[in-house]
C-alpha cells in the first residue's frame, strides 16, 4: 500500500509512514533518543520538544519531531 507522507505529501517509503526523506529523519530521531535519555533523564516527549528547538537539528528532523508532538496531542 502506498500512502502519502503526512508532512510533505510525497509518496511514503516502503518501510514507514513517512516519505523517504522524513523517514530517514525519523530513524535518526529514534536512534539518538538513547543518548539524550542517558544524558538528561528525559522522556520521549521532552526529547522531541528539545530536538524541535535545537538549532543544529535538520529541517526534516524538526518537521518529524513537530509531527510526532502534534500526533501525541490529538
Amino acid at each position: 500500500m502506498s500512502g502519502k507522507c503526512p508532512i510533505c505529501g510525497e509518496r511514503t517509503s516502503r518501510n514507514g509512514s513517512y516519505c523517504e526523506n522524513h523517514q530517514l529523519a525519523y530513524e535518526n530521531l529514534k536512534k539518538q533518543y538513547q543518548y539524550w535519555k542517558d544524558a538528561l533523564q528525559i522522556s520521549w516527549q521532552e526529547y522531541l520538544q528539545k530536538i524541535m528547538e535545537n538549532k543544529n537539528t535538520g529541517q526534516w528532523a524538526k518537521e518529524v519531531a513537530k509531527d510526532l508532538i502534534e500526533k501525541q496531542k490529538n
Binding site: Q32, Y35, D38, L40, I51, N54, T57, G58, Q59
Partner: protein, 687 residues
C-alpha cells in the same frame, strides 16, 4: 615571401612571444578587424605570430534533429554554434589568411591538453590539414624572454599527439554525454508537460551534484546529541588563565554537574609541567589545487577566481603556468637566478638574502608530479605595471610560498601544565614558536597560534576562581564550499585540474546550487532525485572515473581516441535505452517536482491582515513581480507590495518578528542573500 606562422593561445601571449623572439625585441605590429599580429625576425627566419582566443572550434552535432541518442559529432567554428563567441570569426579569418603564405607552423599555445588541442584545431580547420605535418610544438612554462627563446630553440619536431587526441576525446565525450542526457531529461518532460524546460546534466556535473545532494540529506535529517564541556578560571602568579577539564566531552549532565560542584572554590595543585617540541617542515611548492585552496582560506577567493587571477599573472610573465599538478622543481629551473631577481624587490630583499646566505638551495617537494609543468613559482620578473589588489595579493602569496620552500624547519614548543583540583584533573596549555624558520618568509600567511602561559613549577598552588559548564550539541557535517567541493572532486578523481572549477560554476549558473556554503536548490534536488531513481549510473562516480582513466591512457598513448570514444558510447547507450523505456515515468516525476517548486516559489503563506494567501504575482501589463493577497479578487483584502526585480526570490517560511508578514530571501549572484519582509514599505523593522 614565406614565413613560419606561430600560433599563440591568447593575444597577450602572442605579444610576449613576438617580443621575446624578435632579435631586436621590436616586432612589427599589424592589426586586422581588431586582432593584432606580429612580424618578427630571428636568425634570418621570418616569423609571424598570431593569437587565438581560447577555443576557436567546438564540438557540434553532425546532421540535424533535436533528438537523442546522437553520437555523430563534428568540429565547427565556435562562432557558428555560440552567438556570444561572434568575435572568434575575426581570429579564424586572419589565421586562415596568414596560413596561405606560411611554409611551416609552430604550435605555441599553453602546453597542456586544452592548449595542444586549440592549436591542433586551428591548424586543421583554419590552416588546412596539410599544415599538421609541417607543424612543430613549442613548449614553455612561463612567458619570460629566456624561457620563450629556449623553447624556440628546442622545438619538438612534431605535434604532441597524445595530448591532442586526449583533448579531442575529452571534448567529444563530454559533449556526447551532456547533450544526450540533457535531451533525455528535457524530452521526457516535454512529452508529458507539452513544453520545453531547460534541464541539463553532464558526465562530471551529475556526480558532483549528487555529492552535494547527499550532504544536504545528511544536514536536513540531522539529529544532534548533547554533551558538556568544562573549563575553569584559575589565578596563577596574579594573572587569570583558562584551564580545560581533562575530558573534552562529558556525555551526561549529572556527571558534568558533579565535577563543577566538586571543583568550585577549590585550590588546585600543579602536579606536572611538561613540554614537547614539534618540527614543522616547510610546505611544498604550490600546484594549482593547493594554491586555490590556500587563496580560498586566506582571501576567500573561489577556485575559479583564483584560476582567473593566476592566469593574468601568467600572461604578465610574473608567474609560471598555473594549471600544473606538480609539487617538485625539475633541475632545469634556475632557482638561483629567480631568487636573485626577487631580491631586487624591496619587500623580499631580506628574506632572499637570508636564503642565499645559507648556501645550497634545497627546496621542499610535495608528492605530486606533472611532467608538463613545474610547480607554480614567480618567474623573477617584477611587475611593470601596478597590479590590482587581488593580483597583488595572489602574487605576494605565490612569491612567499616560493621563498618559504627554501627555509629551514620551524620549531614549535607546546607546554602542558597538569593541575589537580580535588579528585579531578585540569590542563593549562601554552604554545610558542621557538624557531620561526620558513615561517619568517611566509609570515603573513602562517596560521599558528601563540598562547602564552606564566612560568610555573610543580607543587605550586593555584586558586580556582570559577568553574564553567557549557551544554553543547553535536553539529551536522558542514556544507561544502567551492573549495572543499573542488578537493572532493579531486579526491574522487573526477574532472581535471583545468575543468573542476568551471564545473562548479556551471552548477551555480544552472541554479542547481546556491550560496558560498553550498546549498542544493529544489531544482537541483529534483534532477538528482529523478536521476537516482531511474538511472543512477549517470550519477555514479565510478563511471566518470573509468572514463577519466581511459582518457589519461590516450594521453600516454596506451589507448586510441577511437577506442575510448567507442567504449564511452557503449557505456552510455544502455543508459539512454533505459531512459527511453522509462521516459514517461521520468517525465511525470519531473513535472510533479517542477510543479511543486513553482508552487513553493510563489506561495508565501498567510496574509496577517485577512488570513488569505499571499503570493508572488507577475503583472500581465508591466511584467513586474509583486506580492499580493489572493483575497484581492474577492474584494476583501487589498494588501500588495512591490518586490525587487533582480535576483531569485525564495520564500523563507518564516515571518517577520516586527509585523508578522512572511519574509523572503533575495538571492543575487555573488552577494550575500538578503532577508526581506514583504511588508517592507510599512514594516518598522525594515528600515
Amino acid at each position: 615571401m614565406s614565413y613560419t606562422l606561430i600560433i599563440a593561445e591568447k593575444p597577450s601571449a602572442a605579444e610576449r612571444i613576438a617580443k621575446a623572439l624578435d632579435e631586436n625585441g621590436k616586432p612589427e605590429v599589424y592589426e586586422e578587424n581588431g586582432v593584432r599580429y606580429y612580424k618578427a625576425t630571428r636568425d634570418k627566419t621570418k616569423l609571424v605570430i598570431v593569437p587565438a582566443i581560447g577555443h576557436l572550434f567546438s564540438v557540434s552535432q553532425k546532421g540535424g534533429g533535436w533528438t537523442y541518442p546522437v553520437f555523430n559529432v563534428e568540429w565547427v567554428a565556435t562562432y557558428r554554434v555560440n552567438k556570444r563567441a561572434s568575435n572568434t570569426k575575426h581570429f579564424i579569418d586572419l589565421i586562415s589568411k596568414l596560413a596561405k603564405d606560411a611554409d611551416s607552423f609552430i604550435s605555441a599555445t599553453d602546453f597542456d591538453i586544452e592548449g595542444s588541442q586549440i592549436a591542433y584545431n586551428i591548424l586543421k580547420y583554419a590552416c588546412g590539414t596539410e599544415s599538421l605535418s609541417k607543424a612543430k610544438r613549442m613548449k614553455f612554462s612561463a612567458l619570460t624572454k629566456d624561457e620563450l627563446v629556449n623553447a624556440y630553440y628546442s622545438l619538438s619536431q612534431t605535434l604532441d599527439w597524445g595530448l591532442i587526441e586526449a583533448g579531442r576525446a575529452r571534448h567529444e565525450i563530454d559533449w556526447i554525454y551532456g547533450i544526450n542526457l540533457s535531451r533525455a531529461l528535457m524530452t521526457s518532460l516535454k512529452n508529458v508537460a507539452g513544453k520545453y524546460h531547460t534541464l541539463s546534466t553532464g558526465r562530471v556535473q551529475g556526480p558532483t551534484l549528487s555529492f552535494i545532494a547527499r550532504r544536504e540529506r545528511e544536514i536536513k535529517s540531522f539529529v544532534p546529541k548533547p554533551y558538556w564541556t568544562i573549563s575553569a578560571q584559575a589565578e596563577i602568579n596574579g594573572g587569570l588563565y583558562v584551564l580545560q577539564y581533562e575530558k573534552g566531552k562529558i556525555l551526561t549532565k549529572s556527571e558534568a554537574e558533579k565535577v563543577v560542584e566538586e571543583c568550585s572554590g577549590q585550590v588546585g595543585i600543579i602536579t606536572d609541567v611538561s613540554s614537547s617540541e614539534r618540527t614543522l617542515s616547510p610546505p611544498p611548492p604550490f600546484d594549482i589545487s593547493s594554491l586555490q585552496s590556500e587563496a580560498y582560506s586566506l582571501f576567500g577567493y573561489t577556485p575559479s577566481r583564483t584560476m582567473a587571477i593566476a592566469e593574468r599573472l601568467y600572461l604578465a610573465a610574473l608567474i609560471s603556468y598555473p594549471r600544473t599538478g606538480s609539487q617538485k622543481f625539475p633541475p632545469s629551473i634556475d632557482l638561483l637566478s629567480i631568487l636573485r631577481q626577487l631580491r631586487e624587490h624591496e619587500r623580499y630583499t631580506r628574506i632572499v638574502e637570508c636564503i642565499l646566505s645559507r648556501g645550497k638551495l634545497s627546496p621542499t617537494e610535495g608528492k605530486k608530479e606533472d611532467p608538463a609543468h613545474p610547480p607554480i613559482h614567480p618567474t623573477g620578473t617584477l611587475p611593470e605595471e601596478k597590479l590590482s589588489p587581488e593580483e597583488e595579493k595572489l602574487f605576494d602569496l605565490i612569491v612567499r610560498r616560493f621563498l618559504a620552500v627554501f627555509g629551514p624547519p620551524s620549531i614549535r614548543e607546546s607546554i602542558k601544565v597538569t593541575i589537580a583540583v580535588s579528585s579531578h584533573i585540569f590542563h593549562l596549555r601554552g604554545m610558542k614558536t621557538k624557531v620561526a624558520g620558513w615561517q619568517e618568509a611566509y609570515e603573513p600567511y602562517v596560521r599558528t597560534e601563540e598562547i602564552e602561559i606564566p612560568p610555573v613549577r610543580e607543587g605550586e598552588q593555584v586558586k580556582i576562581v570559577n568553574v564553567n559548564l557549557e551544554e553543547k550539541y553535536t553539529a551536522p557535517p558542514p556544507r561544502y564550499n567551492p573549495n572543499s567541493l573542488l578537493k572532493l572532486m579531486e579526491a574522487n578523481q573526477i574532472g581535471t585540474k583545468a575543468t573542476r572549477a568551471d564545473i562548479i560554476e556551471t552548477l551555480y549558473e544552472r541554479r542547481y546550487i546556491t550560496g558560498r556554503q553550498i546549498e542544493i536548490t529544489d531544482l537541483g534536488l529534483s534532477v538528482i532525485n529523478v536521476l537516482s531513481a531511474y538511472c543512477p549510473r549517470v550519477l555514479s562516480v565510478d563511471l566518470t572515473r573509468e572514463l577519466e582513466e581511459a582518457m589519461n591512457q590516450i594521453e600516454s598513448q596506451k589507448k586510441t581516441r577511437q577506442e575510448v570514444i567507442v567504449d564511452a558510447i557503449e557505456k552510455l547507450t544502455p543508459i539512454l535505452e533505459d531512459f527511453k523505456r522509462k521516459e514517461k515515468e521520468i517525465g511525470e516525476a519531473l513535472r510533479e517536482a517542477l510543479f511543486k517548486i513553482q508552487q513553493k516559489q510563489f506561495s508565501l503563506g498567510k496574509c496577517p491582515l485577512c488570513g488569505g494567501e499571499l503570493k508572488i504575482i507577475r503583472s500581465r501589463k508591466s511584467r513586474k513581480r509583486f506580492v499580493g493577497c489572493l483575497n484581492y479578487w474577492s474584494g476583501t483584502c487589498n494588501f500588495s507590495a512591490p518586490l525587487p526585480q533582480a535576483g531569485i526570490l525564495e520564500p523563507t517560511g518564516k515571518t517577520c518578528p516586527n509585523c508578522g508578514f512572511p519574509t523572503l530571501l533575495v538571492r543575487r549572484p555573488r552577494r550575500r542573500p538578503q532577508e526581506l519582509c514583504v511588508n517592507w514599505q510599512k514594516c518598522q523593522g525594515a528600515k
